[in-house]
């Protein structure tokens, strides 16, 4: 089929018919990134408002000494929720939403790689966040701090549902973070415009690639820690209890192993926004594109090596602290590289000013200050004084508000015209900026001094004789000024939607692809996908936009009502497949509801519900793949511009395969954190006693069967490639997987009293991990068998078998370190 010449309007209508989302209740079936990106951002702003109101309550309470406005019980819930909401329900989802909305447009794709997973992530975020907020309104908000230090957060010292709300609600929300990370990585690597090699990618793509990679390995330690703590709370399995071989410090290691990279996970997308906007306003390309890429990769590596700087006062040997202190200070170097690249871009360009630039200047003022106090806090002796005081409160707000909120406000003013098709109403934008900047500095600059004067964090009130009164009062005044500024920004946004002047297609004269489309953006982004011949942050988008709207480019036509976009070779950007994306569906919503039932069952200790919910989730996921794939080989199909490539199901290097590898990577990190925890307790925990009861060899049957399943699947893959039926082998692998899971399960149940000591609870949880993975391997074998029977699998359409093989390999090999640790635990580690 060759592209028929057609008018831009007709092409728009044809594409909109295919890519559009139904109206009315049909909106709940939306999977389009335009809609989901905006939903993520709007919901994040709602949570920002909730977190802001909580902050106002804190400042009202602390405005005067000996205040009786809220008592300590309520205050503890308020500050716990303020931190939790801002970190997990505002910052992360905010940039996820921005990236979801923006990345396909910057990269030249029509949607994300997994639109339904994005929708599922959104529902998980909404439901998980709702659990937390509803619990708060009912008076059962978490109250052990957003860092949830054990033993305070354990069942003994925080009985009741509060801490469970945190652990389960946040883990629920984290699902959306991990799925978003996989989605973004695969989209960036595989779904760029043809010709856009990695070295031509807009810098925001690089920032998000690194960020998503960090999320993939940064979140699993927290998810693991939350699962262990919830098991300790719900089933009394000790991991953090020092009287039964656990160690409260293990929680801190797991938490900060996530928690520190988290800061950079929040900063990097914002820095990516700055690196995208500043060249537009400097009217020249970004200075030091390559240096910035090196800097952000260096930042990512360093960020995983400095979590201990949150733990300088826990009694770790000083020389070990020196290592983490140096790593913390070194992070200043890649930060400085970026700061000076931005200043250099402005200095060597012809800078112009507009509202977004106001916030960029605000970013410089606030973030540089936060960076400098960060270097101070990296110094161990100073840290021992300033740690857990208001100095740290000041520092972290300078870094996070400076490094995230100011750039996001700049982004809001920069890209809102893309969403509305209108310009700002300037009369409100400028006073709003000044209120925020002055209010922020009044609130938080003084807190440096409050902290140095000895005021610790998280106290609900203070006596009046220690010189903290006027500092706190001024901080509270500043806080309310800042709130007024944010309220003005909100009004400004509404005004822009209602009264803003209609704008031309590219109001800032930017040179990146997202402006090469009509505004507001159509559901399919690009009527045709461009060929990129140079750096993708220096394009003449006005000319390009006209050409693309007219269908000049790749896939500038519709075919069989399919949602088609292009996949490219990861490095070179040569087109190598047509990716066929799924239509709107309610499956993500149902699956998220079933997932929610799973978490609510755990939360309310209705232990009959989670297994049922898990089965429903599994059945629903089996339904997910039904509309995907084809029953016959299509061979290369025309993509315009004289080229033809196969559809994604017929190439090995497709997005599903890469997502599987990303998923296994995240899982490996989770498992690595578990193995680290087991070794940590066995070697360092204060109350550890060797040896434990001897090892039970019955579950070792599971190791043998898992290795056999691994061999069978390799053979099945070979048979399938040779056009012979893999069905018997898949069914045999299904049986072996089930036996593996049952053998490991039996091993778990035969452990004598796993609640008695961490040694046995670790044995229990290691066997659980292996059993779950064997069970999933069995399900995947079943899935591949069903897909084969239904005709979706052939020698070239082999993805279902390949991902089953990859998972089965992982599930079998993961048992090896588990058995090594089990032997160590049983034999006596010390």
């Amino acid at each position: 089929m060759s592209p028929k010449p057609t008018s831009p309007i007709a092409l728009h209508k044809a594409l909109e018919k295919i890519w559009g989302t139904p109206s009315g209740w049909g909106r709940l079936s939306a999977v389009n990134h335009n809609i989901l990106g905006k939903r993520f951002m709007v919901l994040a702003l709602v949570f920002f408002a909730i977190g802001g109101i909580l902050a106002m309550l804190i400042r009202a309470q602390l405005a005067t000494p000996n205040s009786a406005f809220v008592g300590p019980e309520l205050y503890n819930q308020i500050f716990t929720m303020h931190g939790t909401v801002m970190m997990f329900l505002f910052a992360i989802p905010m940039f996820e939403g921005l990236a979801m909305y923006m990345l396909p447009k910057l990269l030249g794709a029509r949607d994300l790689a997994f639109p339904r997973i994005a929708a599922y992530g959104f529902w998980c975020y909404l439901f998980g966040g709702t659990i937390l907020i509803v619990a708060m309104l009912a008076g059962y908000a978490p109250n052990a701090g957003w860092f949830m230090y054990t033993p305070l957060s354990s069942g003994t010292y925080t009985p009741g549902i509060n801490a469970d709300v945190w652990l389960l609600g946040i883990t629920f929300v984290e699902i959306s973070a991990v799925t978003a990370a996989i989605e973004l990585i695969v989209t960036i690597l595989k779904m760029r415009a043809p010709g856009m090699s990695l070295t031509r990618m807009p810098i925001f793509g690089w920032y998000m690639l690194v960020t998503a990679g960090m999320m993939l390995i940064g979140f699993p330690p927290l998810i693991l820690g939350s699962m262990l703590l919830e098991m300790e709370r719900a089933f009394d399995l000790p991991f953090f209890d020092p009287t039964r071989g656990g160690d409260p410090l293990l929680w801190q290691h797991l938490f900060w192993l996530f928690g520190h990279p988290e800061v950079y996970i929040i900063f990097l997308p914002a820095a990516g926004v700055l690196s995208t906007m500043i060249p537009t306003f400097a009217r020249r390309p970004l200075v030091g594109y390559n240096a910035i890429i090196v800097a952000i990769v260096a930042m990512a590596f360093l960020s995983f090596g400095l979590w201990v700087h949150h733990m300088f006062t826990v009694g770790i040997p000083h020389l070990a602290l020196a290592f983490f202190s140096a790593a913390s200070a070194l992070v200043a170097i890649p930060t400085a590289v970026q700061i000076f690249a931005w200043i250099g871009t402005l200095a060597s360009g012809r800078p112009k000013f507009d509202i977004p630039m106001l916030y960029v200047v605000g970013f410089f003022i606030v973030f540089v200050c936060g960076g400098l106090t960060g270097v101070m806090l990296a110094m161990v002796p100073f840290n021992s004084q300033a740690h857990d005081t208001y100095f740290v409160v000041a520092h972290l707000h300078y870094v996070l508000v400076g490094g995230f909120v100011f750039p996001m406000l700049a982004a809001l003013y920069y890209w809102l015209p893309h969403v509305t098709g209108r310009r700002s109403v300037y009369s409100l934008s400028v006073p709003a900026f000044w209120l925020i900047l002055v209010g922020f500095n009044l609130t938080f600059f003084l807190m440096h001094l409050t902290g140095l004067m000895g005021m610790p964090r998280r106290i609900s009130t203070y006596p009046s004789n220690w010189g903290w009164d006027w500092l706190n009062l001024l901080s509270s005044v500043g806080g309310f000024l800042m709130t007024m500024g944010f309220a003005l920004v909100l009004i400004d946004i509404i005004m822009q939607f209602r009264f803003g002047r209609r704008t031309s297609r590219n109001p800032w004269k930017a040179r990146t692809l997202e402006w090469a489309m009509p505004t507001p953006a159509p559901s399919y982004n690009f009527a045709a996908i461009p060929e990129i011949a140079g750096r993708a942050d220096d394009l003449d988008v006005n000319v390009l936009g006209r050409d693309l709207a007219g269908g000049k480019g790749y896939l500038g036509f519709t075919r069989a009502d399919r949602q088609e976009t292009l996949g490219v070779d990861m490095m070179s950007g040569e087109p190598d497949q047509v990716i066929i994306l799924p239509q709107p569906t309610y499956l993500p919503l149902w699956t998220a509801l079933a997932t929610g039932a799973f978490f609510l069952g755990l939360l309310f200790k209705l232990y009959w519900l989670p297994p049922i919910a898990a089965v429903v989730v599994i059945v629903l996921f089996f339904l997910w793949t039904r509309p995907l794939g084809a029953r016959r080989n299509m061979g290369p199909i025309d993509i315009g511009m004289g080229k033809a490539v196969p559809v994604d199901g017929e190439v090995r290097d497709n997005v599903t395969w890469w997502a599987t590898l990303c998923g296994i990577t995240a899982d490996t990190t989770l498992y690595g954190s578990l193995l680290f925890g087991a070794l940590y307790l066995a070697l360092i925990a204060p109350g550890w006693t060797d040896p434990a009861p001897p090892l039970d060899w019955l579950p070792a049957i599971g190791l043998v069967t898992a290795l056999a399943a691994m061999a069978l699947l390799r053979r099945a893959e070979v048979l399938n490639a040779g056009n012979r039926s893999p069905l018997p082998l898949l069914l045999a692998a299904l049986g072996l997987g089930a036996i593996t899971a049952l053998a490991l399960l039996a091993g778990m149940l035969r452990i004598p009293d796993p609640t008695s000591h961490a040694n046995l609870s670790l044995r229990f949880v290691l066997l659980t991990y292996c059993a779950v993975h064997a069970g999933v391997a069995a399900l995947l074998a079943l899935h591949a068998a069903l897909r084969y029977r239904a005709g979706f699998v052939s020698a070239v359409r082999a993805t279902d078998i390949r991902i089953t093989r990859a998972w089965t390999d992982y599930a079998a090999l993961a048992q090896l370190p588990a058995w090594a640790i089990l032997l160590l635990l049983a034999g006596g580690a010390r």
């Binding site: 300590p72 009694g315 602290l321 200070a329 012809r350 410089f364 270097v375 101070m376 110094m379 161990v380």
Partner: protein
């Protein structure tokens, strides 16, 4: 309560470190913001700087020596503050935290009783052995020095010294539940001759 009003050598050294870092930070802040302002207000003044020189100068040449110097100074200072074995072993005092109070014991003062007030001999270093019974707390006397966490199952040591006899305030610095802000304690530093009597020990 202020760390900027030190009453012991550890707090004094850290306060000096703070002031050095503070003035250094002011200079660096002014430099960065000044360059940013120039790029808008007087672009001609800095337009001749080559793009890559910004990154090499600002990102590498400027921070590396500053950070190295600071790290070495902080490492040496930190080593100085450590409770090191060898030499004359200082007096040991046990600080035991629980929700929400501190108890202090004096194993090196025979016959002494447990107290709610922390008694110290002034003018000599003491090693405080910090433990916790239930949840994590943190032992902190801002005017004498840094803090150390009190963690159940662990024993941490911090070396502190009060220059002069007097009354100081201590506080729990790690969030420990509903009574967190009530978990302060009084520190009384005595002339060494008066110390045994203060803890009820044989002189």
């Amino acid at each position: 309560m202020s760390t900027l009003d030190p009453a012991g050598p550890a707090a004094g050294n850290i306060a000096t470190l703070w002031w050095v870092m503070f003035f250094g930070a002011v200079v660096l802040f002014a430099l960065v913001l000044g360059l940013l302002a120039l790029s808008f207000l007087r672009p001609a003044a800095i337009a001749s700087i080559k793009p890559m020189h910004w990154i090499i100068g600002g990102g590498l040449i400027m921070p590396v020596p500053i950070l190295l110097g600071l790290l070495i100074a902080a490492l040496l200072l930190g080593e100085q503050l450590l409770p090191k074995p060898g030499g004359v072993a200082p007096m040991r005092i046990e600080a035991h935290a629980s929700q929400w109070q501190w108890r202090f014991a004096y194993p090196d003062a025979p016959g002494s009783a447990e107290t709610d007030v922390l008694h110290l001999p002034a003018g000599e270093p003491v090693d405080i052995l910090v433990t916790a019974e239930d949840v994590i707390h943190s032992f902190w006397i801002p005017r004498l020095g840094g803090k150390i966490d009190a963690i159940p199952g662990h024993e941490n040591t911090i070396r502190l010294e009060a220059d002069e006899p007097g009354v100081y305030r201590g506080i729990c610095a790690e969030y420990c539940g509903e009574g967190h802000e009530t978990m302060g304690f009084v520190v009384e530093a005595h002339a060494p001759a008066d110390f045994p009597a203060a803890v009820g020990a044989a002189p």
